[in-house]
């Protein structure tokens, strides 16, 4: 065993040197401490008081950094909403006109239709993730593109009137009959869009494109 040092190495002195009397590199010891491995002493370190003293000193020095790094820094409230609001401005919405009466026109943005469809799908047993889409990539969106030039600036009439086409991408829990889950999604979504926003003609395209487990175990697929 090495001779004990006459006093604990002051950090300032320690940081000003490249190696300890035993030959250990200070940078490597500092790396060990800063990476949270101060207690993982190697064979030499278990016998060397120089190394042990240096590790203790460096751990005390680095402690506030470790503490700060462990302090949660939550995202500011509203950050996600703000980002998505900006994105929705960039994505031109497709509008569905539901009714034109002597009182005026009722319009509902496609993303509202998609969100309602998505939330309905998420309630169907076996569904783990449901994503709704009713924008440019849908048949409704393509039709909207084709007729965009003909829209009256204040009418914003959706070309499909009371008809909605909603795409849903769905991940289901492993073990559920996928086709039955998909059919149930279609039925629930169609009923909910009819009941809640009056859409009568609704096509719901369901794509099941992932399978998830409850416990993270991977089934043999």
């Amino acid at each position: 065993m090495s001779e004990p040092p006459s006093g604990g190495p002051a950090a300032r002195h320690l940081l000003g040197t490249a190696t300890l009397p035993c030959g250990a590199e200070v940078d490597l010891l500092f790396e060990q401490v800063a990476d949270g491995r101060a207690a993982d002493l190697g064979a030499h370190q278990r016998e060397c008081v120089h190394c042990q003293a240096a590790i203790t000193e460096l751990a005390a020095l680095w402690g506030p950094v470790t503490e700060l790094a462990a302090t949660p820094v939550p995202a500011p409230r509203g950050l996600t909403a703000s980002v998505m609001r900006q994105i929705r401005v960039l994505v031109r919405d497709v509008w569905y006109t539901l009714q034109t009466t002597n009182l005026g026109t009722i319009r509902i943005a496609a993303r509202i239709v998609a969100a309602l469809a998505r939330d309905t799908a998420r309630l169907v047993p076996g569904v783990r993730v449901a994503l709704g889409r009713s924008t440019d990539n849908t048949p409704a969106g393509l039709a909207e593109h084709a007729t965009f030039q003909h829209r009256h600036p204040h009418a914003a009439v959706g070309v499909l009137g009371r008809t909605a086409v909603v795409d849903l991408a769905v991940a289901v829990t492993y073990g559920n009959p996928v086709h039955e889950v998909a059919r149930e999604i279609q039925q629930h979504v169609i009923a909910n869009l009819r009941d809640h926003i009056g859409l009568q003609a609704v096509a719901v395209n369901v794509t099941v494109d992932d399978v998830l487990t409850h416990d993270g175990q991977s089934p043999a697929l």
Partner: protein
Amino acid sequence: MQARSEVGDAYLVARAREGYLDAYEMLVQRHSAMAYRVALRLCGNHHDAQDLAQEALLAAWQNLRRFRDDSSFSTWLYQIVTRRTLNKVTRGRVADSLDLLGDVPGCGMEPAAQAERNLAVDAVTDALAALPFAQRVVVVLHHFEGLSYADVAAVTHSSVPAVRSHLFRARRTLGTKLEEWR
């Protein structure tokens, strides 16, 4: 196909590319705290960090088709945040005090202990702010975000030896500053 307990980022990226805004919203929910946190630790100003996080998340969406599937979405977002923060810092904006714990409650600490803790936090954040940007980036990504050397190298378009070299120098500088504070 591999089943998991949650959909992965790659799945959400693929759906977002197909036009599912919901998918991108889930990515934003997962990663907005990281984007803000890294920007805050690099630029040291809450308002700038919030703007940078927003800009980075918006830029990621606008460039989603350019995202290469051979890296992770988080690595790509780290790249965008650090690059944008570097741009802001080098435009001459002087960082305010790095008040990283401004909104964090004191966890029931006694006032004296809280005051001492705040001094330690100030010392670390001041020392961090004084580091050259390249060293600050590797310290934040490795020691604060927990990225491996290889991941830090990927984010910074650098090499593992270069990352280690920056970290050695940064730790010595931080250690010296912290020793002066003690």
